[in-house]
């Protein structure tokens, strides 16, 4: 076990299409205290996996340093670094049995056969897979493979555990149970863990510390609830599927918005206001400021796309997303009024770069199924 620190890591790859190198990590610094889970959330791309490969030594950064317990490990070769990476696809060795897969790392370290057997048995019971010991990876399910991959990584008692979207290839239900399993396992073993994912819900629930990685840069780090409720920029808010923006003006300590006015301690000026989908309430109102475009049933809640009569300057996104309870269901085309507590409005500078959410980014729909 160790604490992990990354200082100012930069990495770029030569691009095939363009001659210029493509920067995938730019001056990334982060720290993971001993025994904690740091979750790195970011859109699909190569940046996150690259960062993990740099930590375990499969890639060398162009700039920056990797420290375990305050000591630089850049010169330590991958096999002796003690950071184990678990890939998205589990990457079990197909020619070895489950047991042999788990014992692999020990065998490479020259452990005795007895020790290999003993640790393999321990790990199998830890991941509750004793009955599969002699099976080949081709004979077990996807979830079982991930458990074996975890067991194999834990068998070598790594200083740092690196998880690269470990459950994203599993179906939603299995993914949930595997995540719970992984969390419990991490608590039990207390291994410092760096997890990368593009699933914001997973990131919020599984992490002790959350980091947002976008375009190779770390936008924000902090406790998950802080990052969720206080995004530093509209882009950071995007990670959680927010798309409700509107113009706000502050004058003499008073904020005025389409949702009303409230006292504010921001300096005078124009701002971009933001509300999360669950912070807006809807009421049927023939003279309301918006109309229901569509409704989506989402289990415990229902999601409405609302076309507001107002929009943010230069925002370009003119639809609101609102999460509401199932009671008093609204029809499509119905006029509604939107209300919110104005003191919950998050203010960003008016010039904030605010683009439409990309397909690959997470949103409520795909994560609450």
């Amino acid at each position: 076990m160790a604490n992990l620190e990354l200082r100012n890591i930069s990495k770029s790859f030569s691009s095939k299409r363009r001659n210029a190198p493509e920067t995938v990590l730019s001056h990334v610094s982060l720290a993971v205290p001993d025994g904690k889970i740091f979750c790195l959330l970011g859109p699909s791309g190569i940046g996150k996996s690259t960062l993990l490969k740099i930590v375990c030594g499969l890639l060398v950064p162009e700039e920056g340093d990797v420290l375990f317990d305050g000591e630089s490990v850049l010169r330590v070769p991958v096999e002796r670094r003690g950071a184990v990476l678990v890939f998205q696809d589990a990457s079990l060795f197909p020619h070895l049995t489950v047991e042999e897969n788990i014992a692999f790392g020990l065998k490479m370290r020259g452990a005795s056969r007895g020790e290999q057997r003993q640790v393999a048995a321990e790990m199998l019971s830890l991941v509750e897979m004793e009955e599969c010991a002699r099976k080949l990876p081709g004979e077990i399910s996807g979830g079982q493979k991930q458990r074996v991959a975890l067991a194999r990584a834990l068998a070598v008692r790594p200083r740092i555990l690196l998880l690269d979207e470990p459950f994203s290839s599993l179906d939603a239900r299995l993914r949930r149970s595997m995540r719970a399993f992984m969390r419990a396992l991490q608590r039990k073993t207390g291994i410092t863990t760096l997890l990368v994912t593009h699933d914001w819900e997973e990131a919020l629930q599984d992490s002790d510390i959350l980091g947002l990685l976008f375009d190779g840069k770390l936008l924000q780090t902090g406790a998950p609830e802080d990052v969720f409720s206080n995004p530093v920029s509209p882009r950071a808010a995007d990670f959680f599927g927010v798309r409700n923006y509107f113009d706000v003006e502050v004058r003499d300590g008073t904020l005025s918005s389409p949702f009303g006015s409230a006292p504010a301690d921001a300096p005078d000026g124009r701002y971009l206001g933001m509300l999360r989908p669950d912070q807006i309430a809807l009421l049927p109102d023939a003279g309301g400021a918006g109309s229901v475009l569509s409704a989506e049933y989402g289990g415990e809640r229902i999601f409405y796309d609302i076309v507001p009569s107002f929009s943010a300057n230069g925002c370009g996104w003119s639809r609101f997303r609102v999460a509401a309870s199932l009671e008093g269901r609204l029809r499509e085309g119905e006029k509604v009024s939107m209300s919110a507590r104005c003191d919950t409005i998050r203010l960003f500078p008016a010039e904030s770069d605010r683009r439409e959410p990309r397909e690959t980014e997470s949103s409520y729909e795909q994560d609450l199924q």
Partner: protein
């Protein structure tokens, strides 16, 4: 794997016919004396050519020994040289890679006749002409493209993920290759090896030029017989050729299987 198409028996039949019929015809020719058209079977038979195969003048044992040693050696050397080259071509990207990939195939396109004399002259100057080592080296030229080509695809299909995984778990580069990559490419190496063996065994011109007649392989015996129309004798030696190739391929498959299922090399017996 176990799904059976209704065409399966038909396919099997066609396959066996296409594969076995020529061998059967070869076997008949080896004992035929006269086979007038359009008779279905020969008019006269004789086992004379089989008898003479086992006589002293056929030099069966030295020819077989030289053929197997040479082709086997070429196969092993080619595989050893192909693995790193194929790994680089299959997994790395570097400038000029497509050009390298094309150049690798060049010896297959260029006929041996165009480079054998020059090679002979070079080997003469190097003092390795008319020697086993010289022929071995020369055979690498037509063999390497096949080895590299096949193994490049094997590496491409395998990817580098598993080797990275092994490294991360604490395997040195050598250990990762030995315990992960090698068992996984073993089946590919076996099929490549079978092909390389046959390519080497079939080399007539290169063996001829660079062996100076001292290295006598099956092709060296077979070709004059075919050219001179000694049908029965040619059939006998062809049968031998096929038998040797087949046997080697089977041995390679078995070795690969043993390597791939590392039960006996890993910790559980």
């Amino acid at each position: 794997m176990k799904t059976r198409s209704p065409f399966a028996p038909l396919l099997l039949f066609a396959f066996l016919t296409l594969l076995l019929l020529p061998v059967l015809v070869l076997l008949i020719w080896s004992v035929a004396r006269s086979w007038p058209w359009p008779s279905l079977l020969p008019a006269a038979y004789s086992a004379a050519e089989w008898k003479s195969l086992f006589s002293a003048s056929s030099r069966l044992v030295p020819v077989l020994l030289q053929s197997v040693l040479l082709a086997g050696g070429v196969t092993l050397l080619s595989l050893a040289a192909s693995v790193p080259a194929a790994k680089a071509l299959g997994l790395l990207s570097f400038p000029g890679k497509s050009v390298v990939e094309m150049l690798v195939l060049a010896p297959v396109i260029v006929p041996p006749l165009s480079y054998a004399p020059g090679m002979h002259l070079l080997f003469l100057r190097l003092g390795i002409a008319d020697s086993f080592a010289g022929v071995l080296l020369a055979h690498l030229v037509p063999c390497l493209p096949y080895g590299i080509r096949i193994l490049t695809n094997v590496f491409r299909a395998l990817g580098d993920r598993l080797e990275m995984q092994a490294r991360v778990l604490g395997a040195s580069p050598a250990q990762a290759f030995l315990h992960v990559t090698l068992p996984l490419i073993a089946p590919g190496m076996a099929s490549a090896g079978g092909l390389l063996f046959i390519v080497s065994l079939s080399q007539y011109l290169l063996t001829f030029f660079l062996g100076g007649g001292r290295i006598v392989t099956l092709s060296m015996v077979l070709l004059p017989l075919v050219k001179d129309g000694e049908r029965a004798a040619a059939a006998v030696w062809s049968t031998l050729f096929i038998a040797v190739s087949l046997l080697f391929c089977l041995l390679m498959e078995r070795a690969a299987k043993r390597c791939a299922s590392s039960r006996d090399t890993f910790f559980l017996s």
